[in-house]
């Protein structure tokens, strides 16, 4: 249970990084990336994932298929 950033759509705006309650988002070599080991999809902290909420691009942050 984690989210991932679609590499082809991310514009590296960095808006998602500071809003992550588990600090799972970091800037990678190409675009930002989410650490799937620590991402909780904000469960327990917020009703909806905060990165998805602030991301300016539609369908750029999606749930990782289990």
């Amino acid at each position: 249970m984690a989210l991932y950033i679609v590499e082809a759509d991310c514009i590296s705006c960095g808006d998602c990084e500071p809003v992550c309650p588990t600090n799972s988002i970091t800037e990678g070599a190409i675009v930002f990336k989410i650490d799937k080991k620590t991402c909780t999809e904000c469960e327990g902290d917020f009703d909806i994932p905060q990165c998805v909420k602030v991301c300016p691009i539609d369908n750029c942050i999606l749930p990782l298929e289990a």
């Binding site: 082809a8 759509d9 991310c10 514009i11 070599a29 190409i30 675009v31 539609d58």
Partner: protein, 239 residues
């Protein structure tokens, strides 16, 4: 001797430009002042001898009430050949797009009021300059006026403007509002808001550096670079 016959075109233009920086002074009024300063005919040589004090005192102090900074600017324009002054904006030539211009290129729109800088607000600029930019060349391919139907309200106006740029991948502007930016994004155009007015030439040079290097994935996608080719870029960047 009719003094106007002795004025070169260039000198007349300089007098006109100098009059423009002075408030409430047209070229005719400035001409009268100059005539009082140096007599007729007005030439390059006698203009270069005018001092600020003489300039202020001429015609019974007609210009004395004007700020010194403006007077100095006007004198500078009068005394220096036009090559030293700012060149008048020229209407750039529009390039007819050839198929070979499209390879590895991106089409950008620049919100501009003066035609030289990206200085426009998305919802208020006079025109969008459209460029096709590749790593080794860039062409102005169109200037799109933003006259929208008068009846259109603000929301329609921004939609109208976004629709104007439908074929572009990126739009640069000095400012844009949130709802307007959302409309741009919805059409698949990437809005780029600059923090200050920047020359279009600089934007193009910057973009060309990016295209020539490793374009970020979203840009590569917008340029139509295949995912498999992009993968090559990505692995290179990771290595």
């Amino acid at each position: 001797m009719n003094s106007q016959a002795t004025l070169s075109r260039e000198l007349a233009l300089r007098i006109g430009l100098a009059a423009r920086v002075l408030p409430d002074t047209d070229a005719k009024a400035l001409f009268a002042v100059l005539q009082d300063c140096v007599g007729l005919p007005i030439t390059d040589a006698n203009l270069s001898g005018i001092t600020l004090t003489a300039f202020k005192a001429a015609s019974a102090g007609a210009l004395a009430h004007i700020e010194e900074a403006l007077l100095k600017q006007a004198l500078h324009l009068l005394k220096h050949p036009l090559a030293d002054a700012d060149p008048a904006p020229v209407q750039p030539e529009i390039h007819h797009l050839q198929p070979e211009d499209l390879a590895g290129s991106v089409r950008i729109a620049c919100a501009s009021d003066d035609g030289v800088n990206v200085d426009g607000h998305f919802g208020a600029c006079k025109q969008f300059l459209i460029y096709q930019v590749a790593a080794d060349h860039a062409h102005l391919i169109g200037i799109r006026a933003t006259d929208s139907p008068d009846s259109a309200d603000a929301e329609d106006k921004n939609t109208f403007r976004a629709e104007l740029l439908r074929d572009c991948q990126v739009v640069y502007m000095a400012s844009v509002g949130g709802p307007a930016a959302a409309k741009i994004v919805k059409l698949g155009i990437h809005p780029m808001k600059l923090s200050a007015s920047v020359p279009i030439a600089e934007i193009i040079a910057q973009l060309q550096t990016v295209i020539a290097g490793t374009p970020p994935p979203w840009l590569a996608k917008a340029m139509g670079i295949e995912a498999s080719d992009r993968f090559r870029f990505l692995t290179e960047a990771r290595a």
